[in-house]
Amino acid sequence: MLITERDRLREDVMAVAQLTGFNRASLIPILREVKEKYRGVDSYAMQLIADVLGIHPVEVYAVATFYAYTQPEAEGRFVFRLCRTLSCDLASKDIVARQLQKDLGIGFGEATEDGVFSLEWANCMGMCDQGPAMLVNETVYSRLTPEMVHEIVDDYRSHKEGRATKRAPERTA
């Protein structure tokens, strides 16, 4: 990581902490912000966050690895999360899963080499009446068919820039 990049990361972490407080309760908002912006949480980022919050880095690691949305591993700019839970399963999520793997060229739990896409399973995302459903970052797609998957992937491929949503830092007490 470049020194300038490290400086930027510190600024981003501090910006969230300034809103949410320099305390433990800011850990998840910070982790989500870092994951969102840097697509992963590497060991330098974990040490930095620990330092800012005054906790041990292993605490940061323990929390980051617990939640689906804060996993340390690098992910693509567009994260495809296909629901695998019961109702979507009954609605033939398997054929949608096959199409996603084919069109993205990666398996579940993997990211493309260019860092643009990653593919993950999601556990029930509350779209059970409209399965199979998936999220791409924060956009919901429901009643999926393999044909639709093909179109959606094409669409993201041709709009590689600028489609990722940027969330505002979050606040807690």
Binding site: N23, R24, A25, S26, L27, I28, P29, L31, R32, A62, V63, F66, Y67, A68, Y69, T70, R81, R84, T85, L86, S87, D89, L90, A122, N123, C124, M125, G126, M127, C128, D129, Q130, G131, L135, E138, T139, V140, Y141, S142, R143, L144, M148, R167, E170, R171, T172, A173
Partner: protein, 396 residues
């Protein structure tokens, strides 16, 4: 097919659509704290998340605590498989939920409300924050709300990060505090020591919306539907093999068969009531009632048509629990994996009768030995499938 589809969920006629935002809150703010709590207690409203704890009693516990800083937390971590009613409520009737939180804050003297919104519902966040902002502008949040001197209250949205177990209230609080979502020992209950060790009430989204309706339409109206022990209406999230999946409001006490008729699922061979942590009800028991005194539920109804392979369903559910167990206690962390392995052996035809009995004993042990609701209920569906569809399994 895009994010607009989140509002296309089919629903029957909902009470929430007929209650104007602000009406219940205005009536509640004209009451004393004690009157508010008495009203909720008289309504016999029980928690709509599934556990069914009486809301008025919970509020009363928190009100009795003398701490200067208390919290009311809205549990919007709707993660139970097959449940999506809270998504609909937060999308279309958020103000009823915010009204309910404000009423609760008044009753127990809470300084801050937190909405713990699951990561997967991130697209609802800006909508909720706009609604909160509009309330601040309108004087419904802030200082001296409703002209009541000293009634200061604000609401914030806190995001989850993707963990089913955080729907359990103490795990939710751990997550709010920046820890792994590992459930705490109870007692102390959150009403005594919750968020930041301060008294905290955690209520489900739907519960809070019903609170607003109770104040708007009256306790008698609320109690006139449902059963003695399960008053009022309940929202059901219906999915699976039926003609009209969606969100349905029915009075508590409706039978499984009646519900299936309404949603076009009459030919079902079984339904899963209560999501992955619920139970599988076979056709022979479709006359049973959905109510806390018969089949309790948070409202998840997944319909299984005649051709469905019940073992595949058990497999899907256990796979879910293996992934979502927080790993803190052994019965849940290892037990779910063993049950999943057992289902795979059953599917492969390599499970002996003796081992099947071991699995059943393990499932029962998990129900008594696991620390939280997740581990205590994860084997319920598995056991009910073995009990009611044992013949299917022996044939396969």
């Amino acid at each position: 097919m895009n994010s607009d589809s989140m509002v296309t969920t089919v629903a029957n006629e909902l009470t929430f659509a007929s209650v104007p935002p602000g009406e219940g809150l205005a009536k509640a703010l004209a009451m004393s704290r004690v009157e508010i709590i008495d009203t909720v207690r008289d309504s016999k409203l029980k928690g709509r998340g599934g556990a069914g704890f009486p809301t008025g009693i919970k509020w009363n516990f928190a009100a009795a605590e003398k701490h200067p800083r208390k919290y009311i937390i809205c549990n919007a971590d709707e993660g139970e498989p097959g449940t999506f009613k809270d998504r609909l409520i937060l999308t279309e009737y958020a103000d009823l939920v915010l009204d309910g939180m404000t009423i609760g804050a008044r009753a127990m003297n809470a300084a801050l409300g937190l909405i713990y919104l699951r990561a997967e519902y991130g697209y609802l966040r800006s909508r909720l924050e706009e609604a909160i902002h509009a309330r601040r502008e309108a004087g419904l949040l802030g200082v001296d709300i409703g002209g009541i001197k000293g009634f200061d209250f604000d609401i914030m949205v806190a995001m989850g990060a993707g963990a089913y177990v955080c729907g359990e209230e103490t795990a939710l609080i751990e997550s709010l505090e920046g820890f792994r979502g590992e459930p705490r020992n109870r007692p102390p209950f959150p009403v005594v020591s919750g968020f930041l060790s301060r008294p905290s009430v955690v209520n489900n989204v739907e519960t809070l919306a019903w609170v607003s309706c109770i104040f708007a339409k009256g306790v008698d109206w609320f109690k006139s539907v449902g059963t003695d022990l399960s008053t009022g209406h309940k929202l059901f999230s219906v999915s699976g093999d039926c003609e009209r999946p969606g969100v349905y409001e029915f009075p508590f006490g409706i039978t499984v068969g009646e519900l299936l008729k309404e949603v076009g699922g009459e030919d079902a061979k079984a339904v899963l009531i209560g999501g992955a942590s619920g139970r599988c009800v076979p056709r022979s028991q479709f006359e049973r009632r959905l109510a806390f005194e018969d089949i309790p539920t948070g409202g998840s109804v997944v319909v299984f048509g005649p051709g469905r392979d019940m073992l595949a369903i058990a497999h899907n559910l256990l796979d879910f629990f293996v992934d979502e167990s927080c790993g803190q206690c052994t019965p849940c962390r290892l037990g779910n994996g063993k049950l999943l392995e057992g289902v795979e052996m059953l599917q492969a035809g390599t499970c002996t009768l003796e081992y099947l009995n071991d699995l059943k004993a393990l499932a029962n042990t998990m129900q008594v030995a696991a620390k939280c609701g997740l581990g205590q209920t994860s084997s319920v569906a598995f056991l009910s499938i073995l009990e009611h569809f044992g013949d299917d399994i022996h044939e396969s």
